[in-house]
């Protein structure tokens, strides 16, 4: 079968890897460099800590890295995951957390050596799991713990009142101040407001830029496929308040826009455009290779676009666009309070994944259908993720909505970070059936 488009590998591969490695190196060397080492969740307001000279060990990517071991070092993986089972933590709890706790209980850090000595845990509870996760971590390690409570906005379409929104802004802003004072008191270190302002500014930019990169994938042919995107989005998850991450995304956006201009495709055959949902089974990314072999390009997912992407709703266009940063809106951040308010507001107005965790309902469906429309989606492959109640919220209703809209949709049960709950053979067999129903034959 003839290739429809030309394709080239992305230039920024190695750079992405390099930045990722630097983050883990920073964590490993934090202690000897006298930096604070903080543990917490990615969706927490990690920019909060930028007022300190610190390294941040982000929990979810760590849990995913453990899942990767399943292929590279199965024996080690089994040790970790079973350490958690044997301690009595039920197997249906968040699998990121179970992988993390397993390492902690064994005191084995998968990048080598014992699990790093955290100074304290800082977490923003955007789902039920996170706030309890780090409570358990702080108990095991006997370290202090601070958790912010994030009450997200309801989806704009629900007509939530301005007063309620204002209350939520205030609630989170006050907690940000509370958190900073708590950290200063706990560590006895100075909190640098300049650096804090810089950190949040970077967070706004990198998340907004990532949204722009995702938006570029509306183009036909799609410049990026989901598997590639997943290795880029992780930088925003790990270290979005860092300058180098902002710069990276700026370069990436330029390259992607160039690909769009020159019709350089992620999949030269592009016969069918898919979206997925929820985290993928990290140890089973071959899934995307199988799709490719049928000429299918997976464009991303509500999750991939939004976990660390800033999207704002436009009531005029009734759609979501990459969010404009405070700078772009001409707002200047001078004080700690300016930064705190801006950070609270940014999280509340642009964090759609977090909204999906608390209020899926009509809002998340509308968001997904918006993606179907703007990204020219032909079909969907939904990962019913047993490992994450948060991102799986509303999945079945979304399936119903997709089918109703005439979008062929296949589901498969799995788990983003526990291979024991994912049956690759049966999943691939089901995909074969699905492709038949779409009239797609294997190309290679």
């Amino acid at each position: 079968m003839e290739k429809k488009y030309k394709t080239t590998p992305l230039k920024l591969w190695d750079k992405a890897k390099e930045i990722r490695m630097n983050v883990y190196k920073e964590i490993a060397e934090a202690k000897e460099q006298g930096k604070l080492l903080i543990g917490g969740g990615a969706e927490g307001l990690i920019a909060l800590a930028t007022g300190f000279d610190h390294a941040f060990l982000v929990g979810e990517p760590y849990g995913a890295s453990v899942a990767f071991l399943y292929k590279e070092n199965p024996a080690f993986y089994q040790q970790i995951v079973e350490a958690c089972d044997h301690a009595g933590y039920p197997r249906d709890l968040c699998s990121y957390m179970r992988n993390y706790l397993g390492s902690l209980l064994l005191d084995k850090y998968i990048f080598g050596g014992p699990f790093p000595k955290l100074d304290f845990c800082l977490q923003a509870g955007f789902c039920d799991t996170h706030s309890k996760w780090y409570q358990i971590v702080s108990e095991i390690r006997g370290i202090p713990y601070f958790s912010l409570d994030l009450l997200p906005f309801d989806w704009e379409i629900s007509g939530e009142s301005e007063k309620t929104k204002q209350l939520k802004r205030e609630y989170i802003t006050k907690q940000i101040h509370e958190a900073i004072e708590w950290m200063v008191k706990t560590t006895g270190r100075r909190f640098d407001d300049e650096k804090f302002i810089e950190g949040v500014t970077n967070e706004f930019e990198s998340t907004s830029l990532w949204a722009k990169v995702c938006a570029a994938n509306r183009a036909i042919p799609a410049p990026l496929d989901e598997k590639t995107m997943l290795s880029f989005y992780v930088l925003a998850v790990l270290a979005r308040p860092k300058k180098e991450v902002v710069d990276f995304y700026r370069e990436l956006l330029a390259e992607v826009e160039e690909r769009v201009a020159n019709q350089i495709a992620a999949n030269p055959y592009e016969r069918c455009r898919f979206i997925s949902d929820s985290q993928p089974p990290w140890f089973g990314l071959d899934l995307f290779r199988v799709l490719e072999s049928y000429g299918v390009v997976s464009l991303g997912a509500h999750y991939t676009f939004a976990l660390s992407g800033g999207w704002e709703y436009s009531s005029e266009e009734e759609t979501w666009n990459p969010a404009r940063t405070p700078q772009e809106r001409g707002i200047e951040l001078k004080t700690r309070d300016d930064a705190a308010r801006a950070l609270a507001d940014w999280w509340l107005t642009t964090g759609t994944v977090c909204r999906g965790v608390r209020h899926s309902g009509a809002g998340k469906i509308k968001r997904v259908m918006d993606i179907v429309d703007k990204w020219h989606v032909d079909a969907a492959l939904i990962h019913l993720n047993r490992g994450c109640e948060g991102t799986a919220l509303g999945q079945m209703d979304i399936v119903q909505a997709l089918l109703k809209a005439g979008i062929p949709t296949m589901t498969f049960e799995g788990n983003h970070a526990d291979p024991r709950e994912y049956d690759e053979g049966r999943t691939f067999a089901r995909i074969e059936s699905f492709m038949e129903t779409l009239g797609l034959k294997k190309i290679y």
Binding site: E82, D85, H86, G88
Partner: protein, 293 residues
Amino acid sequence: MTSQQVEYWRWDEGNWADPNKNWKEAKVISAGVDIGSVSTQAVIMTDGELYAYANTRSGYNSRESANKAIGMALNGTNLKLENLDFTVGTGYGRVKVPFANKAITEIACHARGANFMYGPTVRTVLDMGGQDLKVIRCDGKGKVENFLMNEKCAAGTGRGMEVIADLLKVPIGKVGELSFEVDEEPPPVSTTCVVFAKTEALGLLKGGWPVPKVLAAYCSAMAHRVYSQIMTVGIQQDFVITGGIAKNIGVVKRLEKELGFEFFKKTNIDTQLAGAIGAALFAKGLYEKQGRR
């Protein structure tokens, strides 16, 4: 499955009586009947010593199973049912033993039975039945201190082994030995889920695996599943196994490997009798305490 076919999952029934004992000299004749989902055992004891027993299949009707088992046990002795001073029923059908004076759970009975069979140093008892997997912690008398049973999933239980034996046409009693007739230990099968065990085994066979290799892969998967359950309770020595699975060295040896020590405790008594023995011992104690009720 039609009844004409050989049912490889079935194990042999049987009974035994001690020719050197005279029950007429005994102060207390106690009995225990253990009605499990798959098998039923009856044990008769004279002054707390094993006198006679029978091991049979559980039928649809628990009362009949109980009568059949005790009948087989009495058979070969010249005892009659009315000679039994006190009888305790245990197992799933514990309340359905028509001639029993009391019902006690198999948890308590297995702990006490294991204590009798293996001695007072036993602290952890593993019992595996048709769909159940029990890990029991007990003291020097065989009193239960703590126990755990598998929740909501039958993976790795006895039923799975029966399915495999049936599929591979290997008598259940032979599974263990045969599983060692491999040059090197294969990786365990990916799931001990009873539903999928069949296809996976079939897949391996189609992939050219010899029967012993498939058995080895299944036994080690089962051993690991059991290991995980034990670890959640925490193991304390001496560790012993009761129930049918104890007869399957294919699982036992591999479990020893996982746990990192050998179950040096041995017994010459049929491990499937543990529950019934415990019941008979309780029966003796209760009779001495309160007489027949």
